[in-house]
Point group: C2
Amino acid sequence: MTLEIPEVVINRLPVYARALAALAMDGETVVSSQTLGERLDVTPAQIRKDLSYFGRFGKQGRGYNVLGLLAKLREILGLDRKWRVALVGVGRLGQAIAEYGGFEPQGFQIVAVFDSDPAAIGTTVKDVVVRDSADLDTFLRQNPVDIGVVAVPGHAAQQVVDRLVSAGIRAILNYAPMTPHVPAEVAVRNIDPVLAMQSMTFYIKRQDPMGAK
Amino acid sequence: MTLEIPEVVINRLPVYARALAALAMDGETVVSSQTLGERLDVTPAQIRKDLSYFGRFGKQGRGYNVLGLLAKLREILGLDRKWRVALVGVGRLGQAIAEYGGFEPQGFQIVAVFDSDPAAIGTTVKDVVVRDSADLDTFLRQNPVDIGVVAVPGHAAQQVVDRLVSAGIRAILNYAPMTPHVPAEVAVRNIDPVLAMQSMTFYIKRQDPMGAK
DNA sequence: TCCCTGTTGTTACGGATTTCACAACCGTAG
DNA sequence: CTACGGTTGTGAAATCCGTAACAACAGGGA
Ligand SMILES: NC(=O)c1ccc[n+]([C@@H]2O[C@H](COP(=O)([O-])OP(=O)(O)OC[C@H]3O[C@@H](n4cnc5c(N)ncnc54)[C@H](O)[C@@H]3O)[C@@H](O)[C@H]2O)c1
Ligand SMILES: NC(=O)c1ccc[n+]([C@@H]2O[C@H](COP(=O)([O-])OP(=O)(O)OC[C@H]3O[C@@H](n4cnc5c(N)ncnc54)[C@H](O)[C@@H]3O)[C@@H](O)[C@H]2O)c1
């Protein structure tokens, strides 16, 4: 009965939410799809259509109540609660992730950290002790975690993913440069700056660097 | 004249290239769209269709020559040369990016680094001296750079983007949590782990954490 | 040589997504 | 009370994209 919502739509909602939060900080109380769209480089129709999958949140002639719509989006996305995150791999990137201050305010709490390196195990990052990744399954079965973050080298990533999945995790944020294989019911997002650059080069490859003469 | 290639296709090519490089490392010399697709969770038809935008690279009955196709993809994407990258913002994230060893082997060379903090200016990261971001325009006009990486706080990001664009940069990798506004001819990719998590939560929100009882 | 297996390149189809366009509506001002 | 400018929500149209299907063909074996 719940109409199937396209994934592209779901992926845009957090962007809307982020913009609404920024508008709220600026003291704006209402916003039209037009104005929001300009800010996000999205057509007003796109925004209205996306929102219409979930209900009618606007007021004709006025627009949307900024805080009201933000609250609705947070509810839709499930951001109106805390999420427990486990981080696997505490190398350079893993440490940076653990120390990044941007997750906590959004309700993502790193509650456990794992590594396989004996030199790393037992140390602490951000008040969290680094556990042996051999204990991953055991720990996760006793301590519910919602999201797994994979920050290990590519050659170890699938193994880590498999372990997270078999322990019952339903969402994985993968930083390793590979395509994780997971069952359909597990959500995966990949972050790879190299891939991002490699697609941009296609569009600029005919051009001399910065139009140098 | 050149048939318009969908951006989704371009975005997949680096993924194919990455997989081919991995196959080559494993000593594989040929691969079918079927096999490649299984590895990447992409249908074989998708792969063949994507490649057909650019030519005929396979051999019926056999598949694709791994190294041959990889070379073709690298040529198509413009990866058969070095790219000069400028990094703006040398905070925690910026330093991690500068020290990350994954860019260089792919031909992305960080040739300049900028920050606005007097305490950071003059220090070096990875053998590159940190320059005053006030000198961004001057420097870029004299030293051709292809790609700008933005790793400054959100409130400063649009200003940095504007400066990069006005200096003639055609590609930007943005790590700040905002949507940069750029002219149509500038390529932009955004990296935001928080947004990635916030879209995954939609799919797992009805579920108790890890099926805890 | 001929046949069989395996796999490509491509066209046609259908589904998904975006855009269009407008009736309905809100709040305000006259 | 009516008219008006502004904006939503939404079907219908247009566009974009992915999938299916198959003719064509390469290589190998009988
Ligand atoms: N550093 C970056 O900026 C960056 C950016 C994008 C992607 N990445 C990717 O993220 C991953 C990590 O990068 P890094 O620079 O932190 O590497 P790193 O070598 O510094 O850290 C990897 C960590 O993973 C641990 N590890 C290895 N195998 C493990 C296993 N089976 N279980 C648990 N832990 C294990 C290692 O002990 C190490 O601590 C790599 O795949 C890299 O390509 C890094
Ligand atoms: N650290 C992470 O893991 C991470 C992950 C994802 C996104 N981000 C985002 O990346 C950005 C940087 O994060 P961070 O943790 O490194 O922050 P940070 O505060 O440690 O570093 C920001 C740096 O930018 C510099 N800066 C500020 N304004 C500038 C300007 N106008 N020109 C040049 N330099 C300027 C500051 O001096 C500082 O060195 C933020 O927008 C953050 O939200 C960070």
